[in-house]
């Protein structure tokens, strides 16, 4: 994995701009899907609020980059994402199952409309320009680091008490609560951590946009794409969502030229395949095949 990271870090020296662009989108998706699975995969609180926090990150950058250096604007995006998620989490994480899903879906639309109203009535505008001269290579490296930290962080948390608490909440929240876990605190903290990564990714990607408006920033398709990437890869392990994001990003790029409006059909088909054939994602399948192969190897060796 370290070798792969080094190769990816050095890639911009040799690759074309087109390849860099694809990798930028890929890293963004990997970070988003990993962050999503960190909370939703473990607790099974299926969130469709990815686009909300992603969009908040875009807006914080668009507003802040005029006044402060870009790194400060990025940090501000992560902090605002964390705080909004903490407030939202405190009020909604008592909802379970489909109620939580529907609420988080509606949240994006709610924030979208509030920002729209605020821009039109207070700021007398509908869009904002982003004036930065951050080269693509820097965006590439930043997102690579964010994606790696998210994966390693998610893996690390899965090994400590906090990760155990998250899984227990996903398994049976009542049991978790009666076994001494402060379930509210664990849920709100992890929901907010996951959201702060989403906001940060949104803010970094916004550096590439010449201008933004509320419909660009708060686009629900991000929520669905990220969810399906995570499930396709396997939301139960830290490196699963990253594996799932690769084919989806490539497919999206492939379809973008000739069939720009058909990607959602591909996502839908993906979802059906996951539900019927890959409940643990591609990574579970890979692990299963690997274990079978390993068992076969040891068997032939002993005979």
């Amino acid at each position: 994995m370290a070798l792969g990271a080094i190769i990816l870090a050095l890639l911009p020296m040799y690759a074309s701009n087109y390849v860099i662009s694809i990798f930028i989108v890929l890293f963004a998706n990997v970070a988003l899907a990993t962050a999503w699975a960190f909370f939703s995969g473990a607790t099974r609180y299926i969130s469709l609020a990815t686009a909300s926090f992603f969009g908040i990150g875009i807006y914080v950058l668009a507003i802040a980059h005029v006044y402060v250096p870009v790194p400060v604007a990025l940090a501000a995006a992560a902090i605002v994402g964390f705080l909004v998620a903490a407030v939202v989490g405190l009020s909604t994480l008592r909802l379970r199952g489909v109620y939580f899903v529907v609420f988080t879906f509606g949240l994006t639309e709610l924030i979208h409309q509030i920002i729209n109203w605020w821009e039109i009535n207070v700021n007398k505008t509908t869009s904002r320009y982003i004036f930065t001269d951050v080269p693509n290579v820097n965006i590439y490296e930043t997102l690579l680091v964010i994606a790696l930290i998210t994966i390693v962080g998610s893996w690390y948390v899965s090994k400590i008490r906090l990760g155990f608490a998250l899984r227990a909440i996903g398994e049976d929240e009542t049991v978790a609560r009666h076994s001494g876990i402060n379930t509210t605190r664990v849920k709100v903290l992890c929901f907010a951590l996951s959201a702060s990564v989403m906001s940060l990714v949104g803010a970094v990607l916004a550096l590439r946009y010449p201008y933004i408006d509320a419909s660009i920033a708060f686009n629900n398709s991000w929520s669905f794409q990220v969810l399906i990437a995570a499930l396709l890869g396997g939301a139960g392990r830290a490196w699963g969502p990253a594996v799932g994001a690769v084919p989806l990003v490539l497919l999206s790029d492939l379809l973008a030229g000739s069939f720009p409006h058909h990607f959602s059909i591909a996502l839908g088909l993906c979802f059906v395949v996951i539900v019927y054939f890959l409940p643990g994602g591609v990574t579970r399948l890979i692990l299963r095949l690997y274990h079978a192969w390993w068992a076969e190897q040891t068997k032939t060796r002993t005979h």
């Binding site: 008490r161 009666h178 001494g180 876990i181 379930t183």
Partner: protein
């Protein structure tokens, strides 16, 4: 009951209504330390409600629950657990996609004496051995039989290191052999100094284990005393056993 006996849990005027249905009507009783205390009564009499009020699964409308002299009404469930009160559930609850060992580790890692995962692993294995599940530590809880799920639920509760253990029909649904093993196990847990409150319908177990019983009917306490005395109380016979069954 001897007056100088130490009281571990003291319930006063506990009340809970769900809309018009009063599930617990001003219930009061004391639980002496180190004993097995039976909470009995017909279905729907409010036994599980009392357990849910003690462990803050529901919020009480009024009343007081003193645990070792301190008010615990108003705490949250995780705080009740950390203050050394553990419970099992009427409909057995396990973490289905986690292993037997992990189910027990949960209690050790987050209970009244939180431990690191590696420390919890060792103690979980010891507890599993104690409830007769040593060979099944790596199985997923969902794969286990009903009795085995009940065993790990008990091990999980014990892993939180309770002073007071609340068992909600833990012996229900066991066959005669399993029942004997279960009665033995509960009696050994008491021997280690844990006070036990058990909601139970199995008369054999109540007679064999309980030092003291409270009988509830329709949300009210109707009798209290030794198992022999309450089970022969005419009102209890009428409410709980049915007069004909009691005569037979």
């Amino acid at each position: 009951m001897a007056g100088r006996e130490q009281i571990i849990l003291s319930i006063r005027g506990l009340r809970k209504a769900f809309g018009g249905l009063v599930a617990a009507r001003d219930i009061s009783f004391d639980i002496p330390r180190g004993r097995i205390f039976g909470l009995i009564g017909p279905n729907g009499s409010g036994k599980t409600t009392v357990l849910n009020l003690i462990t803050a699964e529901f919020a009480a409308d009024s009343g007081s629950v003193l645990f070792e002299g301190k008010e615990i009404l108003g705490l949250q469930s995780f705080q009740v657990c950390r203050s050394k009160i553990a419970r099992t559930f009427q409909l057995v609850r396990v973490l289905p996609h986690m292993t037997t060992r992990e189910n027990v580790m949960l209690g050790r890692m987050f209970g009244s004496e939180p431990a690191s995962p590696s420390h919890a692993t060792r103690e979980a294995d010891q507890l599993l051995e104690r409830v007769g599940m040593a060979g099944k530590a790596d199985m997923f809880a969902a794969q286990l039989t009903y009795i085995d799920q009940k065993r790990i639920e008990l091990a999980r509760a014990l892993a939180t290191k309770p002073e007071l253990l609340l068992l909600d029909e833990w012996l229900a649904g066991l066959n005669p052999t399993e029942l004997r093993i279960g009665i033995d196990l509960i009696s050994r847990i008491r021997g280690e100094g844990v006070t036990i409150v058990m909601i139970e319908h199995v008369m054999e177990a109540i007679r064999a284990l309980c030092d003291h019983c409270v009988v509830l009917n329709a949300g009210e306490k109707i009798a209290e005393g030794s198992p022999q005395s309450v089970l022969s109380d005419p009102e209890v016979m009428h409410a709980y056993l049915g007069v004909d069954d009691a005569a037979a």
